[in-house]
Symmetry: C2
């Protein structure tokens, strides 16, 4: 949280993450991004952590296709872990930390289950597509042979 970090305006964050400015404001509105600091004139100022978070959100969206509400749970759990990691002094109470950690583990487990299932389905689909392609190529060759014969018949 040092004051000397390089802050980014919304346009640069948009460019670096591949999402639109509208999307960044939308994520903020929905609680997926914490409200960033502002310049005097009201312009949003993001941190590098915000950039990482946006990228994480997009990966979860693209790969798992889950709702933003679910993604919020996941990235929140990730945030908790980063906090646990950062403040390694036990002043917050061990029991409290343990609960947070177990909650986070639960979330990661759920995420893992989704990824595993999708991976399997994907592999199945990939195999089917490969088979399909082979069939089609064979047909194409058959058609080409028919075509050649027709050309010969016409000559």
């Amino acid at each position: 949280m040092s004051e000397s970090e390089a802050y980014l305006q919304i346009g640069e964050v948009a460019e670096r993450t591949g999402v639109t400015q509208r999307t960044l404001r939308f994520y903020e509105e929905k609680g997926l991004l914490k409200p960033p600091s502002r310049m005097d004139g009201g312009f949003r100022l993001y941190s590098e952590d915000d950039v990482k978070r946006v990228k994480q959100i997009r990966r979860l969206q693209d790969l798992l296709g889950i709702s933003l509400a679910d993604i919020k749970d996941m990235v929140d759990a990730g945030e908790i872990l980063r906090e646990l990691k950062a403040q390694y002094r036990p002043e917050a109470g061990i029991a409290e930390k343990k609960r947070q950690l177990e909650r986070a583990i639960e979330v990661v487990h759920a995420q893992y289950a989704i990824v595993k299932q999708k991976t399997e389905q994907m592999a199945e689909m990939k195999a089917q597509l490969e088979e399909r392609l082979k069939t089609f190529e064979r047909w194409r060759k058959e058609l080409e042979q028919l075509d050649e014969k027709a050309a010969v018949a016409l000559s």
Copy 2:
């Protein structure tokens, strides 16, 4: 297209495909399903092919997370192929068939590329999650050891 096929009403199709009746009408509206035949009273009558098509649409949606417009292209290509398969007489013109087949191959290639890319990204994500889980479990054990020591200190 025989008249003796077992036709299904929308409710049964909904049940067998796992989508709502509303969704079936929506797909029809968007051109993903061809308008089914109707009973005298106006009730929709679906075929087994329609059921297959709906299942295919859902799989593409769930696994690839692509738009209905893209899905329409893909299932249309599949449809063309089924037609090619069915009418194996060359009356439609070989050149025409060849174009259709090549178009279909193109679409399947595109689909395959998406699946392949997603498969790779998914594998990467899975590995990351596994590593994460290991880290967390280690932390949990550390916390538990701290907890035991605290209990001993209090006794």
